[in-house]
Symmetry: C2
Subunit: 422 residues, 2 copies
C-alpha cells in the first residue's frame, strides 16, 4: 500500500467509526447527553495542566516557524481560556435539545396521522484553522444535537487539539456513550483534508470555519454538501427620515465595535435627502474613532476627510477601520446597490418611515435584515439561538446563523391503522 | 467564438435572465401569482391544438428513432392529458403560499424583536427526462413559491416542452409578471446540461427528476447544490404481534399497487415468531398477483414457490413484481438490516406492540417511517403537502417529499428601536 493510499484508508477508518457511533447517539436522550456535557466541562477544568503542556508545544513550534503574533494569540490557551471553554460547554447543557421534536402533526382524510420529527443530520465534518477552542465548541454542539463529528483543525494546533479531543472523548465514554462520536483527524498532511472531503458515504455535511480562502478551498474540493459563507459585505442604509443620533450610533457600532468580523458594516448608504443633515455628523464620529472613509463624489463634497472610493471598494470586505460611503437617490437605489454588491449577509435600515421599514425587510434578500438595529446582532447568541456552529449565506438548508436546530433535519412519521393506498 | 463557448454563453444568458426575473417574483403577492396560475391553466386548455401538433412532431421523431413503447407513452400528450396538466395547475392555486410566512418571532432581552421569514430560494434548475407534464408541473410549483426556474427536459420532448413553456410564459406576462421567470433551455446538445450545472452564480439549487442514472450524472457534475434521491429500497417489517390481514394488505399494496415507483416495497422482513403463521398467507396473496419471491433459507422452508435470494437481492430496487423476503430474529435485526441495505427512503412496521411501534418510528432514520400503513403513502400529496417537486433522501435542506415549503428558505428579520451591541 502506498503512503497516500494508507492515509486515505486511515481517514476513512476515522469517518467510518464516526458513522457507526452516530447511531446510538442519535437516539440517546437529552438527560444522558447533558450528563456527558457536564462531564466534559469538568474534565476540561481538571485537565488544565495537560492541556496547557500540549498547547505550549504547539506554541513553541509556531514561534520557531515565525508565526505572526495575531495567529499565536488565537492558538494560545491559558487557565482563563480553558475556563471559558468549559463555561461554553455548560451553556450548551442549558440549550433545548432539538432531537425528537415533532414540529407538526396532522390527520389525513384516510385517518393516517402524519408528523415531522427532528432527527440529527448524522456525521458533521468541521474543517477549521488553528483555534483550539473550536475543537470543543464544535464537538459539543454536534454532540448535543445528536451528531457525531469529524474535526480537522489547523496543523499548528495539532497537539492542543489532540489533547482536547482525548479529554472530551474520555468524558463521553465515562457517561456511557461511544467515544467515537468525537473524532479528530490526527494528520497534518494536507491530503488528509481532501480524503475527509471525499468521504461522502460517512459524512453528511461539511462546515468550514475560518477565512475566505479556507472556505473556498473546502467548497471547491468537497464531494459532501458544504454549508458556508464566504464573506460579509454588510450595509447600513440611512433613510431620509432617519433619526440622526440613532443612525450615528448604529453605523459607529457596526463599523467600530469589532471591525474584523463578518457582521461588521462595510458600506454606508445615505439617502440624498439625509446627506447634508446626517452624513457630516456620522463621518465625524467615525473619523474620531480612526475610521477611513472612502466616498462617492457626493460624499466627498460633504466629508472633507474622505478619500475617493474606487470600484473595488463597493464589493470589499475591509475587515478593518475602513468604510465605503455612497449617497443614493432613495430606497430603490439602496436595495439595488445591496443586491449588486452585497454578500447576502446582513443589512440594516435606519428609518422612521413605516412603509420603508416594511419594504426593506421584505425585499432585501440577505440572511438577516434589520430595522433600526446594529448589523452586529446577526449572531446566533444575539438572535437567541444559543451558540452557533457556523453561518450560512447560501440558502439551502440554513440561511444565517446555524444553531442546534440547523444541525438536524426532519423525517416524516406516520401512525396508521392498516391504511393502504387505493 | 467557438461553438462550445457560444453555447455556454447562451445557457448563461438564460440563467442570468432567470436570476433578474426572480427578484420581482420574490416579492409578488399570492393574489397576483394565483391570477397568473389561473391564466396558465386556461391558456393550456385553449392551446390544446398547438400543443398536440408540437407533441406529434416529437412522437414522430421518437418513433423513427425506434424509441421503446413505454418511453413513447411517457412522451405522448392527448386532450385528456392536457386537461390533467391544467387541473394540476389549478390545484396549485389552492395550495397555501409559503412566502412571507413568519415561522416564529421572539423578543430578546435588549428589546429587539427577532423573527424568521420564509423567502423563495431564488432560481431552481430542473433536469428531467422526456416527460412534458414535468415542464408545467415544475414551473408552476416554482412559480407559486416565488422562484424562477430553468427547465432542461429530455431532448425527445423538445418541441412539446418549447410549446408548453411558451404558453406558460405568455400567461405569466399577461398577468403582469416577467415571462423570464420560466426559462426552458432550448438546446438538445448534452453540453447544455453541463453549462446549466455550472451556473452557480445564477442558480441556487438543482433538482433532478428521473431515473437513477440521470440523478447520478447530475449529482456528480453539478457545482450547484443538488437535492436528490437515487433510489427507494423500501422495507415492510412484519412484527411478531402483527395482525395477519393488515400485514397482508400492506405488503400486497406496497408491492403490487404500482411496482415501478420509488415508494414500492422491495424487501419484506418477517419476525421469526410470525413466520410460520403469517408468511405463507402473505406469500400466497403475492404469488396470486404474479409476484416472484426471493427468499432467505427460512423463507424457502415456508414458501415453496420462492426462489433463493442472493446477496444482490437485499440492496436491490426491483421496480417490478419481485420481492426479497427475509425472516429475522426480531426488531433489532430488522432495524440493522434496514440500516445496512436500505436507501433511507420509506419503511413500515406492522405491529400491535406499542413499544415496538414507537421504537421503530424513533430509531429508523429513513425519510418516512410508518406504523401500520402502506409505504405507498410517502408522497407529497398523500402526506398532505400538496404537489411535490421532488423527493430527497439526503438530509440537507429537505428529507422526503418536497412541497412548496421546501422551495423556500428562512431569513432572519429584526425590528429594533436603535439597539446597538455592547
Amino acid at each position: 500500500m502506498t503512503g497516500a493510499a494508507n492515509l486515505r484508508e486511515q481517514v476513512r477508518s476515522i469517518t467510518g467509526r464516526a458513522r457507526v457511533a452516530s447511531r446510538p447517539l442519535a437516539s440517546a436522550g437529552s438527560a444522558l447527553k447533558n450528563r456527558a456535557l457536564e462531564g466534559i466541562a469538568a474534565a476540561l477544568e481538571a485537565s488544565s495542566d495537560r492541556l496547557l503542556e500540549a498547547n505550549a508545544r504547539d506554541l513553541a513550534r509556531a514561534r520557531a516557524a515565525g508565526t505572526a503574533p495575531a495567529m499565536l494569540d488565537r492558538l494560545a490557551l491559558d487557565a482563563r481560556r480553558i475556563g471559558e471553554i468549559a463555561s461554553a460547554v455548560r451553556e450548551v447543557v442549558l440549550l433545548p435539545d432539538p432531537v425528537g421534536e415533532v414540529t407538526g402533526m396532522w390527520r389525513r382524510p384516510n385517518g393516517i396521522l402524519v408528523g415531522r420529527m427532528r432527527i440529527p443530520l448524522g456525521v458533521v465534518g468541521i474543517v477549521y484553522e488553528a483555534r483550539p477552542n473550536v475543537t470543543v465548541d464544535a464537538a459539543v454542539l454536534c454532540f448535543k444535537s445528536g451528531n457525531a463529528c469529524v474535526l480537522k483543525g489547523g496543523s499548528d494546533a495539532i497537539e492542543s487539539n489532540l489533547a482536547l479531543a482525548e479529554v472530551t472523548r474520555a468524558a463521553i465514554a465515562a457517561a456511557g456513550l461511544p467515544a467515537d462520536v468525537v473524532q479528530l483527524v490526527p494528520f497534518t498532511d494536507r491530503a488528509a483534508v481532501q480524503y475527509l472531503l471525499e468521504a461522502d458515504e460517512d459524512v453528511d455535511v461539511i462546515i468550514p470555519r475560518g477565512g475566505e480562502a479556507l472556505i473556498r478551498h473546502v467548497a471547491e474540493h468537497s464531494r459532501i454538501p458544504v454549508i458556508k459563507h464566504f464573506k460579509g459585505v454588510c450595509h447600513v442604509f440611512v433613510d431620509a427620515s432617519a433619526d440622526l443620533d440613532m443612525a450615528r450610533d448604529i453605523v459607529v457600532n457596526g463599523k467600530v465595535q469589532r471591525p474584523s468580523v463578518c457582521n461588521a458594516v462595510e458600506t454606508l448608504l445615505v439617502h440624498e435627502r439625509a446627506a447634508a443633515t446626517h452624513l457630516p455628523a456620522i463621518a465625524e464620529a467615525l473619523v474620531a474613532r480612526g475610521v477611513e472613509i472612502r466616498g462617492c463624489p457626493r460624499t466627498l463634497a460633504l466629508v472633507p476627510a474622505a478619500r475617493p472610493a474606487t470600484d473595488d471598494d463597493w464589493p470589499a470586505e475591509f475587515l478593518d477601520l475602513t468604510l465605503a460611503v455612497k449617497v443614493v437617490d432613495g430606497l430603490d437605489e439602496a436595495i439595488a446597490h445591496i443586491e449588486r454588491y452585497g454578500s447576502m449577509h446582513t443589512e440594516s435600515i435606519v428609518t422612521c418611515d413605516y412603509a420603508n421599514a416594511q419594504r426593506f425587510l421584505r425585499e432585501v434578500g440577505s440572511s438577516c435584515v434589520l430595522v433600526n438595529a446594529s448589523t452586529r446582532f446577526n449572531d446566533g447568541n444575539q438572535l437567541g439561538l444559543g451558540a452557533e456552529i457556523g453561518i450560512s449565506t447560501t440558502k439551502l438548508h440554513a440561511f444565517g446563523p446555524m444553531g442546534l436546530e440547523e444541525l438536524t433535519t426532519r423525517k416524516f412519521i406516520v401512525y396508521g391503522e392498516g391504511q393502504i393506498r387505493e
